[in-house]
């Protein structure tokens, strides 16, 4: 009975680590590409640096939100895991 809880806990921890690890690869690559392109554009056209910077920030925020989703899922798995709660209540009662 308690072994089930141990398995749920262990799987949650491992999956939480994998979620943030794998989930941050894609946004990192995307943000790197976006920033390098923006820097190249600013170097070519310093006059439009204002517009480029603002658009870059908005774009970075959009890209970053995927990583933030992964982070929130990780936090849910670690701190307020619904499966853990469900099975703990069932086993306890």
């Amino acid at each position: 009975m308690t072994m089930d809880l141990v398995i749920i806990g262990a799987v949650s921890m491992v999956v939480a680590g994998l979620t943030i690890a794998i989930g941050s690869i894609g946004p990192a690559l995307g943000q790197g590409r976006a920033v390098s392109q923006a820097l190249a554009s600013i170097a070519q056209q310093p006059d439009s640096a204002n517009t480029i910077t603002r658009t870059l920030f908005v774009g970075l925020a959009m890209i970053e939100s995927t990583a933030i989703y992964c982070f929130v899922v990780t936090m849910i798995l670690l701190f307020i895991n619904p499966f853990w709660r469900f099975f703990a209540e069932r086993l306890g009662g």
Binding site: N50, R54, F57, V58, Y69, F71, V72, M75, F79
Partner: protein, 227 residues
């Protein structure tokens, strides 16, 4: 641990932020002058308002008057609540509360409320300027097939708006908490400084995104009206 921000702590911190904003504005606007070279706080606040005004003007490519109050309030509230996170003990006045100031924006309730405000502001601004027919028409652009995707996009960007601010601010709180438990002397201060930078950028991004959403619901209509 850090995920649990109690209701009263959240309330008190939100009211602290609002009080800071109101008292600052009251102090400045108590004796306004119309001189060409304003001094002191008035100079500072005018610079802030003009910066916001210029950003809105650039994004909306039109006049900024209808949007200035809403976008400016969003920006200043989020900025203040993020920057105040460098002060440790805001809720200390009341017995039994944790002795730490959590930025209200690091709880999902506050960010969800702010995102919902943007969600309702987009149709309100659009309808008040261009009418209901034009606003509903934007859902059928570019073709009526896009209708479900437009609706999904409307909902998911509201979710993303709330999650982005919440995730960034909460991750700052958690990283500082972890740093304190590992290397309590200098390292958390560096992370707090980094948190100030993140907080300012997130406030800027939230305001800019809100303005972009509002402007995007208006610009398509301007084109449609021109045809």
């Amino acid at each position: 641990m850090t995920l649990d921000i109690s209701f009263w702590e959240l309330m008190i911190n939100t009211w602290v932020v609002m009080a800071v904003l109101v008292v600052c504005s009251w102090l400045v606007s108590r004796n306004l002058t119309s001189e060409i070279h304003p001094t002191g706080l008035q100079n500072w606040l005018e610079a802030v308002v003009e910066a916001i005004d210029g950003q809105i003007r650039e994004i909306s490519a039109g006049d900024s008057k209808p949007y200035l109050a809403f976008i400016g309030t969003l920006f200043l509230f989020i900025l203040t609540s993020n920057v105040l996170a460098i002060f440790p003990s805001m809720a200390q006045l009341v017995e039994g509360l944790p002795k730490v100031y959590h930025a209200p924006t690091s709880s999902l309730e506050t960010t969800a409320a702010l995102a919902l405000a943007v969600f309702f502001a987009v149709p309100l601004f659009s309808i008040s300027r261009y009418g209901l027919r034009h606003y509903l028409g934007t859902y059928l652009k570019p073709t009526p097939i896009m209708l479900p995707f437009n609706i999904i996009g409307e909902l998911s960007r509201t979710l993303a708006l709330a999650m982005r601010l919440f995730g960034n601010m909460m991750s700052g709180v958690i990283v500082v908490a972890i740093a304190i438990s590992i290397a309590p002397l200098v390292f958390p201060v560096v992370l707090q400084l980094f948190g100030l930078l993140t907080g300012s950028i997130q406030a800027y991004i939230f305001a800019v995104l809100a303005m972009v959403y509002i402007a995007s619901a208006s610009k398509t209509q301007q084109k449609a009206g021109g045809k």
